[in-house]
C-alpha cells in the first residue's frame, strides 16, 4: 500500500499497548478500567473534587443525562415518523461529556459546539420544547424552526450554537474567549456595563474536526494570544465512517497536538462523569485564572449511527457493547445507589419517568406548534429589510413575487 494507509508516521512504538488513557491495537480500544491505566487509576486515598459535592448536585447530573437520553430516544422516534427533516445526529452515549463539562463552568462562560448539539443545548438549560420544536421545523424552535437539528442557539444560556460546518466553530470559541479577555483587560468592564469577569470559553469539536485547518489556526491564535478557551475534543472514535486512526495522526496520543501550540493537553475518560469533573474542573479553573488555552481529548462513544441513516459497516458490534458496558448513566447511577446511597431504585425510576414525560411533552408541543409563516423566509437576513431584494417586505406568500 502507498501513503494513503496511515501508519509509519505514527510512532506507535512510543505508545505501547496499555499506556496513556487508552491504547488502540488493531482498531480496538482498551478502556482505562480494563487495562488498569490512565486517569481511572487514582492514588488511593487522594480526595476527588467530586466527592466534596453535595448529593443534590450529582443527582442533578444524573437527571440531566437521563433527560438527554430520553429526549434523543424521542427524537429518533420522531425522525422515523418523518417529523424531523434532513439530518438528525443523536448524542446517546456521550451524555456525560456535555453534562460533565458544562457543570464545570459558570453559567455565563460561553460555549460553542458542532452539529451534534442537542445534548449541550439541554445541559445548558434550553427547554426540551424549544429544542424539539426546532427539529420539527416549527416557529417555537430556538432558531424559529428555520435551522433544525444542527442549529441549537441559546443566547440567554451562553450557548453560541451548533454549527454545521465541521471545525468552523473552533475559531469562534477562540473569539468568544478573546471578547471576554478584552472586556477584562482592555475595557475593564463587560460590554453591557457590568463588571468584567474572568471567563473561560469552551469550543467543542468532534475527532473528525481535528483534521480541519480552522482548528489549527484557532489553536495557534489561542496559544499566541493567551486566550482562555478550552478545545474539547469529543473523541467518539469516528468521523462518520472513518475511525480516528484512519483520519488523524497521533490518534493514540492526541494531547501531543497541544504541545506545538503552547498549551496544556490532557486525556480524560469521558464515560465517567465524576472523572470528567475531577479532571476537567481544575483545568477550567487554571485556564480561567491564568488566561490560557487548553486542549482536552475526552474519550466517549456514540451508541447510534452517525446520523439516522447509517448502516455502521465500519465498526464491530462488540466495540459498541464494550462502551455500553461502561455506560455513563449506569456508572453514576451505581455510584449514587451503592456508594453514596443517596438514592433508591425507586428514585431513579421516578427520574426516568419524569424525563420520559418531558421528552414526550416536547414532541407533543412541537407537533402542535405552528410552522413558520412564509414571511419568515426573509426575516433575520439583515437587521433591517433591504429594499429591492427579493422577496421585499411587501411580498405576501401566495401572491405574485413583486420582483418577478
Amino acid at each position: 500500500m502507498m501513503s494513503t494507509t496511515p501508519a509509519p508516521i505514527n510512532p506507535s512504538s512510543s505508545a505501547p499497548a496499555g499506556e496513556g488513557l487508552y491504547a488502540i491495537t488493531s482498531s480496538r480500544v482498551h478502556m482505562p478500567g480494563q487495562n488498569g491505566n490512565g486517569t481511572a487509576k487514582r492514588e488511593a486515598g487522594k480526595p476527588r473534587p467530586s466527592d466534596a459535592l453535595p448529593n443534590a448536585t450529582l443527582i442533578k447530573w444524573l437527571r440531566d443525562m437521563i433527560l438527554i437520553r430520553e429526549f434523543e430516544n424521542r427524537c429518533a422516534q420522531a425522525y422515523q415518523q418523518a417529523k424531523i427533516g434532513g439530518f438528525c445526529h443523536l448524542y446517546i452515549g456521550q451524555e456525560a461529556l456535555a453534562v460533565g463539562t458544562i457543570n464545570s463552568l459558570n453559567h455565563d462562560d460561553p460555549i460553542v459546539t458542532a452539529y451534534r448539539d442537542h445534548g449541550h443545548a439541554l445541559a445548558r438549560g434550553m427547554s426540551a420544547r424549544a429544542c424539539m420544536a426546532e427539529m420539527f421545523g416549527k416557529s417555537a424552535g430556538c432558531a424559529k424552526g428555520k435551522g433544525g437539528s444542527m442549529h441549537m442557539f441559546d443566547k440567554p444560556n451562553w450557548n453560541f450554537g451548533g454549527h454545521g460546518i465541521v471545525g468552523a466553530q473552533t475559531p469562534l470559541g477562540a473569539g468568544l474567549a478573546f471578547a471576554a479577555k478584552y472586556e477584562l483587560e482592555v475595557m475593564k468592564r463587560s460590554v453591557d456595563g457590568g463588571p468584567a469577569k474572568k471567563k473561560v470559553a469552551l469550543a467543542y469539536l468532534g475527532d473528525g474536526a481535528l483534521n480541519q485547518g480552522a482548528l489549527h489556526e484557532a489553536m495557534n491564535l489561542a496559544g499566541l494570544w493567551g486566550l482562555p478557551v478550552i478545545f474539547v475534543v469529543e473523541n467518539n472514535r469516528y468521523s462518520m465512517g472513518t475511525a480516528i486512526e484512519r483520519g488523524t495522526t497521533m490518534a493514540h496520543d492526541l494531547k501531543q497536538k497541544a504541545v506545538a501550540y503552547g498549551m496544556e493537553g490532557v486525556h480524560i475518560d469521558g464515560m465517567d462523569i465524576r472523572n470528567i469533573y475531577d479532571e476537567f474542573k481544575p483545568l477550567v479553573d487554571r485556564c480561567r485564572e491564568n488566561s490560557r488555552p487548553a486542549f482536552v481529548d475526552l474519550l466517549t462513544y456514540r451508541y447510534q449511527g452517525h446520523s439516522m441513516s447509517d448502516p455502521q459497516k465500519y465498526r464491530a458490534k462488540d466495540e459498541v457493547e464494550m462502551f455500553k458496558s461502561r455506560d455513563s448513566i449506569a456508572l453514576l447511577e451505581q455510584h449514587l445507589l451503592t456508594e453514596r446511597k443517596c438514592v433508591t431504585e425507586a428514585d431513579v425510576d421516578k427520574i426516568v419517568a419524569e424525563c420520559k414525560a418531558i421528552a414526550a411533552d416536547s414532541a407533543d408541543f412541537a407537533e402542535s406548534a405552528p410552522i413558520p409563516a412564509a414571511e419568515e423566509l426573509f426575516s433575520d437576513v439583515y437587521a433591517e429589510i433591504v429594499p429591492n431584494l427579493s422577496p421585499a417586505a411587501t411580498y405576501v406568500h401566495g401572491e405574485k413575487n413583486p420582483l418577478l
Partner: protein
C-alpha cells in the same frame, strides 16, 4: 441498455473511467469503505483498491489542494466534496489555485481535476446541505461548471469532464439522485462540455434552466400552462462555458424568455443569461425577460423549503405573464 438512476449513472461513469485510465483517482470523506454519503462511489474501492478510491480525513482544503497537486503531477483526480456547503474550506485551493494555474504558469502547468459535488435543495435539509452556489464558481475564470439533470447526460458529461484538460466542477442535483431512472448506454460516450439540450421545441417562448429545475419546468408545462402555448425548454447542462448560441437562437425565434434557477436571485446565473439575451435579441424581444429564482435569503430548513424553491406554479405564472405581455 440498463435503467439507471442519476447516482448509478455517475457510479458507472466513474467505474468505466477507472478501468480505462489508471491515472484516475477518487478521493474524499468516506468515499471508499462507505461508498460516499450518497453512495455514489459504492463498490469502487472494492473493485479498484484503497490506493485508487481513497478515504481522506475530514479536510476539504487538504482534499482539494492535494488533488491539485495530483493533477499537476499528471493524474486525473476526482475529489468528492460531500455537500456544496463544505466547499467553503476548499474555496481557496479551488479558486485561487486550481482555476488559475494554467494562466499563472502561462500554460506550462495544468490542473485536470473534476470535483464532484452534490448540489441544490429539495431534500428537506438546511443551509450548507441545500445551497446552489454555481454563480460563485462561474464568476471565477478558469473553472468549468457542469450541472446535468438526467442520468444519461450525467454519464456523458462526467466522462467528458474527467478527460478535460482543465478543472471542472461537476454539480450533482441531489433532488434528482434517485427520483427516476432512464436508459443509460453501457458504451463509452461523452457529451461535449458547453452544449445545451433542447428538452422541448416551441415557438412562443423560451424557458432556460438547469439541474433539478428542469423537472419543475416540465411540471409547469404539463399541468399549469395551457396546451396552445408553445414552449421551448432548454436544459443548459453546462453552466460555464455556457451554450449561449442555443438560447440566443431560440429567443430570436420566440421573442420571449423566462430563466429559472434555484439559487438566490441577485447576481445569479439567471442575471447573466438575461443580460446576454438583451445584448443579442433586443430587437426581437416582445416582452421583458423574466427570472424565476430562489429568494435573496439563506436556504431555510424543511418546512419553508418549498416556499423558497421555485415550483411549477411560480414558473407557470411567469410564463403566462410573459406570454400575455
Amino acid at each position: 441498455m440498463p435503467q439507471l438512476t442519476l447516482v448509478q449513472a455517475i457510479n458507472s461513469a466513474l467505474d468505466q473511467e477507472m478501468a480505462r485510465d489508471p491515472r484516475v483517482v477518487c478521493l474524499g470523506e468516506d468515499v471508499g469503505l462507505n461508498g460516499g454519503v450518497f453512495r455514489v462511489t459504492e463498490g469502487l474501492q472494492k473493485k479498484y483498491g484503497a490506493d485508487r478510491v481513497i478515504d481522506t480525513p475530514l479536510s476539504e482544503s487538504g482534499i482539494m489542494g492535494s488533488s491539485i497537486g495530483l493533477a499537476m503531477g499528471g493524474m486525473r483526480p476526482i475529489p468528492e466534496i460531500q455537500f456544496e456547503g463544505f466547499m467553503g474550506p476548499a474555496y481557496d485551493q479551488l479558486v485561487n489555485h486550481a482555476a488559475r494555474f494554467r494562466n499563472r504558469t502561462r500554460g506550462s502547468m495544468t490542473v485536470p481535476l473534476t470535483v464532484r459535488v452534490p448540489w441544490g435543495g429539495g431534500i428537506h435539509a438546511p443551509e450548507f446541505h441545500s445551497d446552489s452556489p454555481e454563480a460563485i464558481y462561474i464568476h471565477n475564470p478558469g473553472l468549468k461548471v457542469l450541472c446535468p439533470s438526467t442520468p444519461s447526460d450525467a454519464k456523458g458529461l462526467l466522462l467528458a469532464a474527467i478527460r478535460d484538460p482543465d478543472p471542472v466542477i461537476f454539480f450533482e442535483p441531489k433532488r434528482v439522485y434517485r427520483s427516476f431512472r432512464e436508459e443509460v448506454s453501457d458504451e463509452d460516450y461523452t457529451i461535449p462540455i458547453g452544449k445545451a439540450k433542447l428538452v422541448s421545441e416551441g415557438a412562443d417562448i423560451t424557458v432556460i434552466t438547469w439541474g433539478a429545475m428542469v423537472f419543475q419546468c416540465l411540471e409547469a408545462l404539463d399541468k399549469h400552462v395551457p396546451e396552445d402555448a408553445s414552449v421551448e425548454l432548454i436544459d443548459l447542462r453546462t453552466l460555464h462555458p455556457m451554450d449561449t448560441d442555443a438560447f440566443i437562437e431560440s429567443v430570436n425565434k420566440t421573442g420571449r424568455a423566462v430563466v429559472v434557477q434555484e439559487a438566490p436571485k441577485t447576481c445569479g446565473l439567471a442575471s447573466e443569461i438575461t443580460t446576454i439575451i438583451q445584448e443579442h435579441c433586443f430587437l426581437n424581444l416582445k416582452a421583458p425577460v423574466q427570472r424565476v429564482c430562489g429568494f435573496d435569503v439563506v436556504m431555510p430548513y424543511a418546512k419553508l423549503e418549498l416556499d423558497y424553491l421555485p415550483d411549477a406554479k411560480r414558473i407557470a405564472e411567469a410564463i403566462m405573464q410573459t406570454l400575455a405581455y
